[in-house]
Amino acid sequence: MTYIEVDGLTKRFGDTVALDDVSFEVPAGEFVIVLGVSGSGKSTLLRTLSGLLSPTEGEIRIDGEPMIEPRPEVAMIFQQHNIIGDMTAYSNSLSGGVHRSGFLSSVLQLQDEEEKHRALDALDTVGLLDEAEQKARRMSGGQQQRVGIARALVQQPNVLLADEPVASLDPGSAQSVMDYLRTASDDRDLTTFCSLHQVNIARKFGHRFIGLRDGKKVFDGYRDELTIDVIDDLYGDIDTEGMFVRDDGDADAATDEVATS
């Protein structure tokens, strides 16, 4: 069943074309990784999907409904975490569900117990239950990003968008954040879009891959179709040796090695 439909999506900022006639369809529950160099339009695609930006031309339909403005069913995780530093991990997690409560009850944290359990459950999913009362500002980058994931989960979304969630993290934290993201997405049966520029991580975690170059979709396929030629095409002349193994049987093992080293 098609869940997300992107049809002729074009986004221009003045004269700059950030997305150029991008179309694809994604069935419910897929874990999609968006690949491309900086400036290829990954962020713009995700921000348009989230409703933060509106398309110049074309349409995005999620669950059959056009995406015009942000909706609670579509949650987003940001590269810069964008959690609230002055609040605790728990309060941040709880703030994902404010759309279900009124202004005063959300400000004074008077939500019902079910809502509060949901926030703690989300923190548990990302392995931060014991750190619930820590100020977010005092946490490490990886932990902050996991709080971001918890907040997105409390929103009870169907779609999870992650805009380079691990770009500012060290390899170890990146690996664990991606693990949590993947687990959360599988457990809750979420359709997930994640933009990445680390090919090794992408290959380890993705089902399906969409490649962008200069705002155009240049690749759309599943794991076994993601060959070294595709990567070369996406990233140009960079040295991909050691990042990628031609033989599909060894691919996972090889990328694992790179990711953990």
Partner: protein, 362 residues
């Protein structure tokens, strides 16, 4: 030039050949000349500006009658001996007679009101009196006598002004209220700021009479203008990230403002409020001068009686009040801003001598 090394090398080489005679290559000499000219122009500009400033200053001196002042140095030196009463120890060594200050401060209850303080400090403690102190006499400001009244004016002004400043400051931000409409709130605050607190007191005198009540309300008004303005400025500095994040959660507009914006500036808002409280206590002194009570009023009445020693004693009390408020507020602000583990109250007091010694040795 750096993209193609061969041409770059070639150019450098030919430059060197061109300037075989002098030591300095053309390009460097040219740039040097450019810099010299820019500096010369800048020096000329600064000289012109300074000349204009001097000219304007002379005119301002004339306007303030400082060019031809009606100076009475003798009267001033006379008043100084009033300000600083001198006694002679053993009939010879001159000393500042601090005792006169203390006597006046005690006589007029400038810093401590023994009638109210007596309820609290007695041995053995009397529970009924302690109850009376807190709940009947409402004495926690009044125990400080005249200084307490001034302090209370600043405190009430800050407490009453804060919620309005918060509302006006938030709604005055362009991110919350779209462009032309936010000027309704910014304009109101500008108008309030245009009128000093002392004038606001005059405006409220017909309403509440000449006394601390109108002063407190005037200070509250002043707080809306000044604190609200600081809030607006602070909100200009916030990051877009958390706002976007709250938008994607599907939060309502007021929720986006609270979680995405205000939560980013909470610490800064508290710090600014403490800063305005400091200023408000100072304003409490100035509005006292026109008769609204507290230390300012004592000061002006002694001045009217030309009792300079008593005036100086009052100034001393004012100094003590302001310094204590500043110390308190600055300690609190620096603690709010620091990420360190907070010091307990006890450690704050008991560790003071050691920290003081540490800072003096630095």
């Amino acid at each position: 030039m750096t993209t193609d090394t061969t041409t770059s090398d070639g150019t450098v080489g030919s430059d060197a050949v061109d300037d075989e005679g002098s030591d300095v290559p053309n390009r460097i000499a040219e740039q040097f000349e450019n810099i010299r000219q820019t500096r010369r122009r800048r020096a000329l500009g600064w000289t012109g500006l300074l000349a204009f400033l001097a000219f304007a200053t002379v005119q301002a001196f004339a306007a303030t009658e400082l060019l031809n002042p009606d100076a009475r140095l003798e009267t001033f030196t006379d008043s100084l001996t009033g300000f600083f009463p001198i006694t002679r120890h053993f009939g010879v060594i001159p000393f500042l007679d601090f005792g006169q200050y203390v006597a006046f401060i005690r006589q007029e209850n400038l810093l401590y009101d023994p009638e109210i303080g007596g309820l609290l400090f007695q041995f053995p403690p009397n529970l009924a009196d302690i109850y009376a102190f807190f709940f009947l006499e409402l004495g926690i400001f009044q125990i400080f006598g005249e200084a307490g009244i001034t302090l209370a004016m600043g405190f009430v002004g800050t407490v009453l002004g804060f919620p309005f400043a918060l509302v006006f400051g938030t709604l005055g931000s362009e991110r919350v209220t779209p462009f032309p409409f936010n000027f309704i709130f910014r304009g109101t605050m500008s108008f309030i700021r245009a009128i000093p607190a002392i004038i606001w007191t005059l405006i409220f005198i017909p309403f509440l009479g000449l006394g601390p009540a109108s002063a407190a309300i005037a200070i509250a008004f002043d707080t809306i203008g000044n604190l609200g303005r600081l809030f607006v400025d602070e909100l200009e500095e916030i990051e877009d990230g958390p706002i976007e994040a709250m938008r994607t959660t599907g939060a309502s507009k007021p929720q986006i403002v609270f979680f995405g914006m205000l939560s980013q500036v909470r610490t800064a808002f508290i710090a600014w409020t403490l800063y305005i409280f400091e200023i408000n206590v100072r304003i409490g002194v100035t509005v006292g001068v026109i008769g609204a009570g507290g230390l300012g009023y004592v000061l002006t009445s002694q001045q009217n009686l030309l009792r300079f020693t008593e005036m100086m004693a009052t100034l001393l009390a004012i100094f003590l009040l302001i310094i204590s408020v500043e110390l308190f507020s600055q300690r609190l602000r620096s603690r709010l801003r620091s990420d360190d583990v907070e010091m307990g109250i006890w450690e704050l007091i008991a560790g003071f001598p050691r920290r003081m010694a540490d800072s003096m040795l630095k």
